[in-house]
Assembly symmetry: C2
Homo-oligomer: 119 residues x 2
């Protein structure tokens, strides 16, 4: 006897390509962490981001930040100084990831034994 199954009725909803693109963008190694740090406070200097994202090399952090700039999520701000100061901030597109990052953070707290949220 063949058991009725919703899985036989029709193909499952295909994964939306833009969601796929989004998750692969922010899920890239370190990228989600960089966005989360900038969501807590911005603008930040390169060295401040580096201090807040554990274990990332300066080379890789620079590469990821450039990618986020290129994709329109982060902007580089240059204050003429002196001293000249370069800082990084989220664009409206980047800042709009706050609800998704917040939900993922909440999930991690519920399921991966995260400590209480840092204020």
């Amino acid at each position: 006897m063949i058991e009725p199954s919703t899985a036989d009725a029709a193909p499952a909803t295909s994964c939306c390509p833009q969601y796929h693109e989004a998750i692969e963008l922010i899920g890239r190694r370190w990228t989600g962490a960089i966005i989360a740090v900038l969501l807590t406070r911005e603008p930040l200097r390169f060295s401040d981001i580096a201090a807040s994202v554990p274990d990332i090399s300066d080379r890789l952090l620079s590469e990821r930040v450039k990618e986020l700039e290129h994709r329109g999520l982060v902007e580089r701000r240059v204050d003429p100084g002196p001293p000249v100061r370069v800082r990084y901030a989220l664009t409206p597109m980047g800042r709009d990831l706050a609800p998704a990052v917040g939900e993922l953070h909440a999930w991690a707290r519920r399921w991966l034994s995260c400590g209480p949220a840092t204020p």
Copy 2:
């Protein structure tokens, strides 16, 4: 003159290791797509997941599904049949990613020119 800057006041909030773990888990190539497909309907057979996640090889899909099982997000259900039928479903831990996936999907729709949501 040194411009006052919140970035100078204290280090930015460090990235929570569990959030980092979460984003790297679901952001792994194809993993977020597999979870999104199972959130739309489950349980699904391997071939149904494969049909809904574009361009993934069976070998890689199998590897990702095994990883999700190992991490406790997906469970493998064997109906004894005949015919024997193996299907995959989200665990409560996996299903609890729905709000995060929903927010990321909404962001992708707002910023990456996604079409209207499929019902």
